[in-house]
Subunit: 345 residues, 4 copies
Amino acid sequence: MSGNRAAVLHAPRTIRVEDRPVPRLGPRDVLVEVRAVGVCGSDVHYYEHGRIGRYEVVSPLVLGHEASGVVVDLGPEARAHSVGDRVALEPGVPCGRCRECRAGRYNLCPYVHFLATPPHDGAFARLVAIHEDFAHALPEMLSDEAGALLEPLSVGLWACWKGQVTAGTDVLVTGAGPIGQLAAQTALALGARRVLVTDLEPRRLAFAQAHGAETMDVREGFPGARGTEADVLLECSGNENALVDGIRALRPAGRAVCVGMGPDVQATVPLAVIQERELVLTGTFRYANTYPAAIALAASGRVDLDGLVSARFDLESTERALRAMHDDPGTIKAMVYPSDGGSGR
Amino acid sequence: MSGNRAAVLHAPRTIRVEDRPVPRLGPRDVLVEVRAVGVCGSDVHYYEHGRIGRYEVVSPLVLGHEASGVVVDLGPEARAHSVGDRVALEPGVPCGRCRECRAGRYNLCPYVHFLATPPHDGAFARLVAIHEDFAHALPEMLSDEAGALLEPLSVGLWACWKGQVTAGTDVLVTGAGPIGQLAAQTALALGARRVLVTDLEPRRLAFAQAHGAETMDVREGFPGARGTEADVLLECSGNENALVDGIRALRPAGRAVCVGMGPDVQATVPLAVIQERELVLTGTFRYANTYPAAIALAASGRVDLDGLVSARFDLESTERALRAMHDDPGTIKAMVYPSDGGSGR
Amino acid sequence: MSGNRAAVLHAPRTIRVEDRPVPRLGPRDVLVEVRAVGVCGSDVHYYEHGRIGRYEVVSPLVLGHEASGVVVDLGPEARAHSVGDRVALEPGVPCGRCRECRAGRYNLCPYVHFLATPPHDGAFARLVAIHEDFAHALPEMLSDEAGALLEPLSVGLWACWKGQVTAGTDVLVTGAGPIGQLAAQTALALGARRVLVTDLEPRRLAFAQAHGAETMDVREGFPGARGTEADVLLECSGNENALVDGIRALRPAGRAVCVGMGPDVQATVPLAVIQERELVLTGTFRYANTYPAAIALAASGRVDLDGLVSARFDLESTERALRAMHDDPGTIKAMVYPSDGGSGR
Amino acid sequence: MSGNRAAVLHAPRTIRVEDRPVPRLGPRDVLVEVRAVGVCGSDVHYYEHGRIGRYEVVSPLVLGHEASGVVVDLGPEARAHSVGDRVALEPGVPCGRCRECRAGRYNLCPYVHFLATPPHDGAFARLVAIHEDFAHALPEMLSDEAGALLEPLSVGLWACWKGQVTAGTDVLVTGAGPIGQLAAQTALALGARRVLVTDLEPRRLAFAQAHGAETMDVREGFPGARGTEADVLLECSGNENALVDGIRALRPAGRAVCVGMGPDVQATVPLAVIQERELVLTGTFRYANTYPAAIALAASGRVDLDGLVSARFDLESTERALRAMHDDPGTIKAMVYPSDGGSGR
């Protein structure tokens, strides 16, 4: 298998699996044979609508940005890895020079190259090139899937850091998809006192409960009801009601972190509550400097990544993978295996 | 003059000037003969409506919480001041014991005694008692009016601290009332690069400009238009449009601080912008640990308090003072002088 | 048993167990029948030398400040607890009014009343009075010993917070006494990637290893040797060499937190290293706002307090308890049980 | 004048002015004709000793890193400036990729190219090449000298930021050389309440006093004597006694920032004081993200850079410039003018 087989989005709901050229390597790039790629809600959104907000798919695009693999070639100045090393891909490579990069906020770099964000191709492909410093060595005890899922774990960890979760913090997580699950597990790994996860899908709530969280079915109550109080809200559903109820449940000086993105670009929030309690409302956009910590959390078993995977597909079945969530709402995470004929592990 | 003459709110738009008992002193209280009291928008609101949100005037109430005066008596354990000392009153005395107090957020203490917030009487009176640690020694170079206006200066300083204003920060101040003016001057005193103040009252804009700010009449444009960008928004108008335009004008990682309180308890904000740029939206509720710094800013001339005063009234004319803003929208700050027959200085 | 039996230090190495008056209660105090008290190194130091630095025992003093017990009486305004409630004592009650208290640094309050710090008596006694807000409700799953050991856990947690330990942090703990052990366990509970504990007592190192840390016998190497690197040093031995080696082992922007107090009031530190790497060197003095989080860490089993206890004494044997560490260097924590005749649990 | 005339250090105390090749430009570099270069203490140290700590001059080296000039050529991808633009050079260009760069601490980048730090040549030369993002546009109101002195201003600003100087902060600056002067002025521009500068050179103290600071001749007292207290120490002398006295003068939770580098790599500090007051001791290594703020401080007149210049030299006289401080200890800052025959302005 010497070409670069890839699943390419040509139009909304139209994926074709094709041979693409092998990526050219920059001086410090590594070429990675992709072993596992997670399907993210943003992939599904591009697949269904051909755009997310101002990002529009105008020419054929390879989706997929939660990826791990094996190094198979090195650019001429790449020194960090050897051929054969297993790596997790941090999918956004920033410019390293702009105002945001210089301030350590490289996730906000306007010049970032991010896998599967137009016009940059992603990882539903056999081969991907990436700067060596954004390929993170994967310890042996982490599976290929875990390597791929360091990406959503990074999202969850970033949210916890923005929310300043530490020992004794009470955390409310609204939305029990993959991000919500990983945010909840990470909060506990950072010392949170109590983590309450809300959703309406029983299997998701059961998964959260099995991983140490308390849970609430939002059809039977809402956060803030029954005197529930929290120091931090990690809003992972993109639902405006969840945000509003969550804010109301916060104690003075609490933090509301918006991780999920809903269909609307605006939200009506209880401003008087924010003012009287001096709450902080903020949002996350990807993450920065999370991978080393995420690897440690997963490698020590404090966060369970493998357990999230509930559906597996080979590259030829990428389109089915993108539909898996809709076909079965209990699906937490679908994975695509681009380089091994779909047998998984 | 030995009694405690006071202007008492009996019903909306009904103030009667009466003799009240001399306040009893707690062990560490000082008795202060009030020299100058500023009229705040909240006083006006109580006067007109008899309530602010959940705070309702149910029995007769003395308004006024921006005050300075002279110590005329001491509680048995008070040691910080002597009779004859000039002091500025920090009007909120917290419990010192609760969760918020122990965390240094004493402004959020649910047990606070705050002057002129029901059921606690305020300072439109000849005499007020206050815990000695919340009576701050007033340096000679500060006038009685300046002593009183350390209170709104504290609000402005607290907003700047919440917004993390420092050298090089670009600040947008929406609303050029007393708080907006003092927030703008404080931002410059903290090293801000550029401070843009918006309002629609020409005299207020002129005052801001004379004190180092750039200005914009909101009828002729809005912040964020013409590529205006800021790191910090200090929203001092309580106007939802100002908040929304201001948020849109923020750079990545910017801070939006809601100081002004509008008529509505909620606001519709551009959440996608907050998320994509990882903005922080927060609000201020009074202030904590600001008085020593506020005194230093005013005493060194870096902030001009005296210049704010545009109308002066004796205690018998308190009701006219409370109407001054409505009678002349160019009024920035009206002052009441409870202890000297209204001659001012 | 109605009196207040207490172990009283009359002179260095001279403890007499005597009947003392029952403490008088302030308005919001609770009277606590003490169930378990840990022996701290500072108790031992007072016992042996009659002083610690500027704190000198000039009149007979009851030692002991790591305590838990049962509420047996209430001051007239105390509402937080009921008679019969089990509580852990936070031994320092600050003034709530001074500059430090108002800033949330109540551990630095110069007016604090701290158990067993002259001239305030401590808890090697049947009965102790304390302000209700510094008596923390003890959950059922926590033993009396655990309740007492929340105090050293607070010291360890405060050190971790000062060091900004979070997910991915590599931590070096020098000194495996009770504080070092609890600092190490807490660091792991906050998400630390790797915790390396150094000491020279094999049983202490074994205890640390059994609780998740890596260990190093300082006679066989030193931190920083073998390329060891850390983000945070928690110096819990009071040994100058440990501090110096630990600082040298820190990565750029690392934090060195001095918890242990050595015999000298000064130390020679590698200043050029601190400058070139922009390290932060700081120290801890007691703790603030730690108890709720410490209770949660212990109650969830993330930190093991009971396992620390290696020797038990009744009140009459307090002097033996104070000598236990010297008699057997493998002793991690000796406990005194003032109210039950010494049967322990 | 088409060559690249440069003052080259061949051995300690041996400078030869020679023609060097015109620097080659990287894709995003700009070529700058140098107009003004300040003489820094580190230049003097290299000149006298041929090394600073582990940095050793092994082949001929051009010194000088405080520089401004005019853009005379552009690399093929440089877009930020045009030929003819006046720029200030931020002399350290980091890699943009390493752990430190990604965290926003680019001053700690181990791969940084820093002007005049072996093996990288500096700016005592007619022409220097630098990455366009580290050439900062110089506003019209700033002189060439001011452009050069943004570098030491950055050092002073970074120290103030590390010390968290803001409104109300009391600051002690030990050492009134250029860095101490600029740190003191910056502290005032950030709102400091009181800035006390110590030195033993009367002209330096007079300069500090003329710029708003209080001063103390260290032969007549020392900081901390007479009850002097501070929140922040900015140690700019490299003197161990100054550091020790300064630490002792700090209030609880104060910050001691070591800016000056002394002859020794270690220092004996009052550790018990650091612990009891929970002080923070740290150091600065260059600066990060300071230039935009430094430009604003200077352009608004809040910091006086031009006034520092007390001696002027043409390029041929570079060696005399390097000796100016020793020849006259009242010299605050000597400048070299590489491109105009030495006429200065």
